[in-house]
Subunit: 423 residues, 2 copies
């Protein structure tokens, strides 16, 4: 498919946050052209009049657990440890791979409504999540979710080889659930794999005070210092949450170029705390944004996360100028792509992958057009997402989904699974 | 117009948060029937198949400054006092009444997209805002915005008489901007009017630490204690923001039955702080929710405010069980109505005014349907609002507005005004 988007305002995010008028053309999976010129004789399969609306790279959801849709609004208002051990783990034990595949599709539909073109997912059965994405045409990077009770270093290695060769939409990264759920020998095995494959490693890190205190008690070090001491991050990687970080933790992240993936909605709802985004930003630590899973957030909306990223930082610093909107937009788009190893999706530019969205500026929350990038962060909403394209294919347009099956079939299966698991 | 909504899930919020299947009929401005029965020979002007979606009373935006749309994304990332004195006040001085009328319409469109059926507005020219609402068919309660530089006790009294007789969609309440902008003699004059008309009084109250400290310095009392000492709240009323409240302030609010209107988005973005919602709730203080104006928030979205109300309270209390979703929903609907003196809009029930909304449950953020009221608060979005009816008239349906003129005309005028004022 060759598609021409014309009458665009373009926020390419390539070198600047400047908005230019012009056209964006795609050819198959890639962006073929971004600029002012008009087509001269080229044949397009479709020409879309963007009517002065905004075209920009899609948002990257840099931490989530898509299949957890079955627990949305099922176990709210509980602290993290109680929520995890008494509600989440026992119910997750009942899930089949097929359940996870179906449940992930509900999340994929929601990502599309929020202009998210890629997710960084961590869950029990990465094959199930990967299949859901491939069936829908969605892009997913998976991280291993190993802990003492599920997945093994051998499986991580097998998936690293096989999932990375499975489909152009899928990547797999080394990863484990967290220090507090994974014993030393398994952690050492992951660090060895990181060395063998020269690969980055990802995990939940310092989400709660308790987690950090218990690690210090166990090993005399914070999770970051302890894991780094095992050689876990020799080839980079990152941490999800990063709420209770010491200065030393931040130094390690900065030196290793590790990505701090912030999840402000989840951290607020579970009362885990507010991450030190302003300090990390000042130190040059690359920050990306994730929704976390639908059981803890409970929605999968990059607009809400962007507003929370800046506004919680402002509250934490007692400074309304902390973490401005443009920084947040870069986190949600460019840094998210880089955190997942997807530099080919980080901006709109010739040769990059065609993962892009159209934002409806003719909605009242965008008016007047005083400052479009700030509007996106401070007043943007799912309701502004007119079109979401992943890998050159339009998967969502004007409220309709094009993911190979009807949403109502996906919902019906999800409700059936949720009733069976909860019952 | 007689309208029949059938195939509904009904969240009437009348006596409980239970959801029942059935029908809602309207007749002119009022709700004619809520229940299970089918019509027997009645003629309707329109019959709407709600397709199993949710019908519920509209949200009440209990504090806003609608006309400030011209400053959206224009002066962000500044502390409140600097923002107010250096950016807001100088630009506001250039606004005409006609500007305010046109600018308020942008906000009204946004309220409709968020399922808000009524706003509690405070601004320089209440007539201009009231006219905008009447022209659009929207319901507005205005509070006086008097301070030492604009409006006078005489004008408040005149508006109290004339605006309350102007149109069924409009009410006017006594009010002033805040203690820190209004001298003693003017405050005493408002308290005298409250006594004369046995009327409630509303104002900004304890939004920032500085505001409270300066009042204590000036009068030896917090704003709440000082104003109460003037007899301001003998007939009730309320405060907007209520962030920096002492135990004594809360006692006064409880004893007087004053409404605390929380504005979590604005308080976060301006780094003003987090209101003690959990404590106020435990004391039985009635709490309503407002977006504040589009210059400080910057969006006018009750879904975002609901999530912020509960999640910021959870962070403040370091307790994930603080301020649960059902309490928040009551704040956003019933308490908002009561705070504005609109008990006729607080639930779906025969004889109440037909201010109602339809929520699209066939969107991925609502699936699976584990718990609909929690979904509204934790994962709801503007994108779920299918229909907004005010005073028996459908003003918004499936993304289209019915407010007497096209949104693009409203936007064009707002952009023109914004450019002129900012230029």
């Amino acid at each position: 498919m060759r598609i021409r988007f014309y009458n665009c305002r373009i926020l390419s995010m390539k070198d600047s946050m400047e908005i230019k008028k012009g056209e964006v053309w795609t050819d198959g999976r890639q962006i073929a052209y971004v600029g002012e010129k008009k087509p001269s004789g080229q044949a397009f399969d479709r020409e879309v009049d963007v009517q002065g609306n905004l075209i920009m790279p899609g948002f990257k959801n840099a931490h989530t657990h898509s299949s957890m849709t079955f627990l949305r609004s099922f176990a709210d208002d509980l602290p993290l440890q109680e929520w995890l051990h008494n509600k989440v783990f026992p119910l997750e034990a009942k899930l089949t791979g097929e359940d996870m595949r179906q449940l992930a599709k509900v999340a994929i539909l929601e990502y599309l409504t929020s202009g998210i073109t890629c997710n960084f997912d961590m869950y029990l059965d990465p094959w199930a999540v990967a299949q859901a994405s491939v069936e829908c045409g969605f892009r997913t990077v998976l991280a291993g979710a190993m802990n003492d009770f599920s997945q093994s270093p051998r499986e991580l290695e097998e998936w690293y080889q096989k999932l990375n060769a499975y489909d152009p939409l899928i990547r797999f990264c080394l990863g484990f659930h967290a220090e507090y759920t994974t014993g030393l020998s398994r952690l050492e095995a992951v660090a060895a794999l990181a060395g063998k494959y020269k690969a980055p490693v990802y995990c939940h890190n310092s989400e709660t005070k308790t987690e950090v205190a218990q690690c210090v008690e166990r090993y005399g070090k914070t999770p970051t210092a302890f894991l780094d001491g095992l050689g876990m991050f020799r080839y980079g990687g990152g941490g999800y949450h990063c709420v209770h970080f010491s200065r030393e933790d931040m130094e390690i992240f900065r030196e290793r170029g590790l990505y701090a993936v912030t999840n402000p909605g989840s951290n607020a709802k579970l009362a885990s705390g507010i991450a030190p985004i302003a300090q990390m930003l000042a130190m040059g630590i690359p920050i990306a944004i994730g929704t976390d899973g639908p059981a803890s957030n409970n929605c999968l909306d990059m607009f809400r996360e962007m507003f929370l990223t800046t506004s919680l930082a402002k509250l934490r610093e007692e400074d309304a100028s902390a973490v401005d909107a443009l920084e947040v937009l870069r986190m949600a788009v460019c840094n998210g792509a880089h955190a997942m190893g997807l530099s080919e999706c980080d901006c709109l530019s010739e040769g990059k992958l065609a993962d892009l969205i159209i934002i409806d500026l003719q909605q009242p929350n965008m008016q007047p057009l005083n400052h479009i990038p700030k509007n996106l962060v401070y007043s943007g909403s799912k309701q502004n997402v007119k079109l979401t394209m992943v890998d050159g294919k339009i998967l969502y347009e004007d409220g309709k989904f094009f993911v190979g099956e009807e949403p109502k079939e996906i919902y019906a299966r999800a409700n059936e699974i949720a009733r069976r698991i909860q019952g």
